[in-house]
Symmetry: C2
Subunit: 516 residues, 2 copies
């Protein structure tokens, strides 16, 4: 057995079942190991940003890590943006990176780089295998580190000679991965008291607090205390739709968020940290805890926040049942109206299967879809946690791999979709049930808004050109078909509704261009 | 004037004329500055890897830096692979990266990351603006650092508030950028003596030694001493075609390179360093200086190697004129033969305009084209210096921007082309005369070879699937058209020859799928 084989076998023992790969020469023994060993599914991606985004989406839905297999420093570089999103979304990822053989590094061959240095900014842990005999131990440590707490990206660097060595290293058995940190009973009791005393409390839910158990408990607390429930603007995953407690989503722009929170006297942070603006603007506050409010933290991303919310709810034994979303009738569709994100939301409400998964990489348009399906079929909504666009289609690959029986949607701005469109090829190769919706506004729309907001003055023609994608217009039907994914175009509410029904009926990967 | 404007004006004063951009909110004041100021051309790219690859191609052809404009850590991440190629090719690049406002960084908003950390592995210099008043000084320093010596990537990080400050910072005048380091006369004399004494000398040319003056001088030295001329396997740019001295390209695989160099007693390194294998293999040497040869260095990448070669040639005043490539008649084309890289080379020999520029990102196929045009029209051939695939189409964008009157070609493997195909959109937007040739072998062909070479055993079906791109086959005609570039398909020598003629006659960006 060569060392790469013991690495793969050890990972399988730890419950790692999927590897999103884009290998090169220095990873050939890993490829051979993946080839020989049953129990690890290899999913080839045409670009590393697809592999890392898929690992992110997989982790969010499976609740456990997949691994990647990337090629040297430039390969990690290509994957960094989606590792950033995973890290910010506390998605556990075991990021495996091949490096040159140890004796080859000193020769400074063309592909030599500081692989640890490339990994570090987007990893919570980085480890390099120094000896073939370390391979299994390091693999276990990488899995452990991916679980945190808080969970995130663990990068394991494997020199080629450590992979190809035919020493007989151990295949280590499973360990119990680290669990989230329990919130002390005192903290729960103090926050219960604070809630009882508060006049206008708000509970801000982030990370795991937006999963079923956390939401349900938060709903009970809200009923008992009159607290308003908010969720972070970008959470890794929120369970939504009928039968669920539905917090209000904190507005993206700071001044709007402050307005929403105005008058709050107690801000309870559950699974997250006090809210801040996404970007800085001249003469705008960055901290969004409203003046006059006291912020108290029940738990952060490393906490067992669902259990903490259950304990907190238990402090209010007489709380009435929480308010739940109810399946509502879809509003009337005006088929000849020009399409907008709201109509996309209405069509999802009408046709989306129960337990769909929605990967949102559509900055402005995603916010327009979101409210419409609050009272729709049950679904999980995955946000752009790190703000690095190009997440949607890759994340959908991973989500579909984790949940093959659920319908997956990727909602993408056209600017974002252009970052990682190679994901469509893997969707086609793996025949995944993913409907990709590309909102074609032919511009970096959010940046047109931002240009005005930062006070940079009136944009002239050169600035407008720099934010416009209309010269030439991308033809997303051709781009999708080029990667083997059938595609349709819709410019009206009716056309989109028909396209969505047809895409769902046909199954497999599909793309709809939403001309807005 | 806000600080971003003084940055742009200072860069223009330093001769920086082009900015390859993919901005975000934190760069809006740079966008506004680029909008208002004449003298800096902004070229929008749909992905950061296109922007950095274009800056690489521009620098190789213009001999001076362009700048980029990238968005925070994930934006640099997306651009790292082509920054690596630029850094390894000693192409001067001023890599400008926006960051959050200084007061916003401590809030750890979702897009916060260690931007310096992301830049460092692929930069020779990293600087962060700490105060708005520093902007112009830092811009001058970034340009200075990009010139080296040796030249490379200088990353300048600009916090948003340092860009938007309306302080009245200086616009600094031009400085003389650092020049390459002269080679001491003693070194030249010693190497002349060594060459006279050697029985079987080889001169290995790298970096600037492969430009006209260096090649011509090397040709004279070869005639005088009987030295064989080799070039590094991957050089940033080599001047080729009729009327030029043509060194032999050192083989990619180490054992072949060692065979080519066998019997050498003196290896003179001119503009490079002693040769090493691209990758390590079990039981293969990494150092390629042949046994029995003494390696001596005339100069490395930081040296004024062209001047050194001229001085060295002057030590042999009676040297006959160097041997030059002569325009040869193209070999007969067999139009019905199945296409292969050689036939692509023959068609280039037949139809390529004088002074074309060829950006080679076609690992296996590029090596097959290269020899055929040695005696063809004059051209510059740009190699994949850092080995990070996805360079070709972006580099072509930059080369065409630097040389608008020259025909540019991008030769890409289909695996490589899929990395950064978004470059096609910028080619269409800028109406650039670029013919993209995508060699569609529907596999990571080189990896199939490498899998065998590293001794990983016979590949099973899973390994074969991991190196195969045929399920589904990418449709490059649709992909090109989707980004606004007309495309043709060719499966025979005759079809390719016709497609190339048609593409050149039509002008503008074109793509030919070479089915091989």
């Amino acid at each position: 057995m060569f060392a790469a084989e013991s690495l793969v076998r050890t990972l399988i023992n730890q419950g790692v079942e999927v590897c999103f790969t884009n290998p090169g020469t220095s990873e050939m023994h890993m490829v051979a190991a993946l080839d020989r060993i049953e129990g690890m599914r290899s999913v080839l991606c045409l670009f590393e940003g697809v592999a890392t985004g898929a690992a992110d989406g997989y982790a969010r839905m499976a609740g456990k890590p997949a691994c990647t297999l990337l090629h040297l420093g430039p390969g990690v570089g290509n994957g960094l943006a989606n590792l950033h999103n995973a890290q910010r979304g506390h998605a556990p990822v075991v990021n495996i990176v091949g490096d040159h053989a140890r004796h080859h590094l000193k020769l400074d061959a063309p592909l030599t780089s500081d692989v640890e240095g490339v990994c570090r900014p987007m990893s919570r842990w980085v480890g390099t295998v120094r000896e073939p005999s370390e391979v299994s131990t390091m693999a276990v440590e990488a899995v452990r580190q991916a679980y945190g707490p808080a969970r995130g990206v663990a990068s394991l660097i494997l020199p080629a000679d450590c992979a190809w060595s035919d020493a007989e290293p151990d295949v280590l058995p499973a360990i119990e991965p680290p669990a989230a940190i329990p919130v002390p009973a005192d903290t729960v009791a103090e926050i219960a008291d604070a809630l009882k005393a508060a006049k206008a409390p708000v509970i801000l839910l982030g990370n795991d607090a937006c999963l079923d158990t956390g939401l349900e408990a938060a709903g009970r607390i809200a009923e008992a205390t009159g607290a308003k429930l908010f969720m972070d603007t970008f959470v890794p995953r929120i369970a939504r739709g009928h039968g669920r407690v539905s917090p209000k989503r904190l507005a993206y722009f700071g001044e709007q968020a402050l307005e929403e929170l105005a008058g709050t006297d107690l801000l309870v942070i559950a699974g997250s940290k006090p809210p801040v603006a996404f970007f800085a603007y001249p003469d705008q506050p960055g901290e969004l805890t409203p003046p006059g409010a006291r912020a108290v933290t029940l738990g952060d991303a490393s906490s067992d926040i669902q259990e903490a919310l259950v304990s907190l709810a238990a402090q209010f034994p007489d709380a009435p049942a929480p308010k739940l979303s109810k399946l509502s009738q879809a509003p009337k569709l005006f088929p000849d109206e020009l399409l907008n994100p709201g109509y996309v939301g209405i069509s999802l409400l009408r046709h989306m299967p129960e337990d769909s998964v929605i990967c949102d990489d559509a900055t402005t348009s995603g916010m327009g879809v979101f409210p419409w399906i609050e009272h729709g079929p049950r679904h999980d909504w995955l946000c752009l946690t790190g703000g690095a666009i190009g997440s949607g289609m890759p994340q959908a690959v991973g989500a579909a791999m984790a949940c093959p029986d659920r319908q997956v949607f990727a909602l993408c701005g056209d600017g974002a979709a252009a970052y990682t469109l190679q994901a469509l090829w893997t969707q086609a190769r793996e025949k995944q049930n993913i409907v990709n919706v590309v909102f074609a506004n032919h511009s970096y729309l959010v940046l047109n808004v931002e240009l005005a907001r930062v006070g940079a003055g009136e944009p002239g023609p050169a600035a407008q050109q720099m934010l416009s994608l209309d010269n030439p217009k991308m033809d997303w039907v051709k781009l999708a078909e080029g990667f083997g994914v059938p595609a349709r175009r819709a410019a009206t509410a009716g056309e989109f509704d028909e396209a969505l029904q047809a895409a769902l009926a046909e199954g497999g990967p599909q793309l709809i261009v939403a001309e807005i």
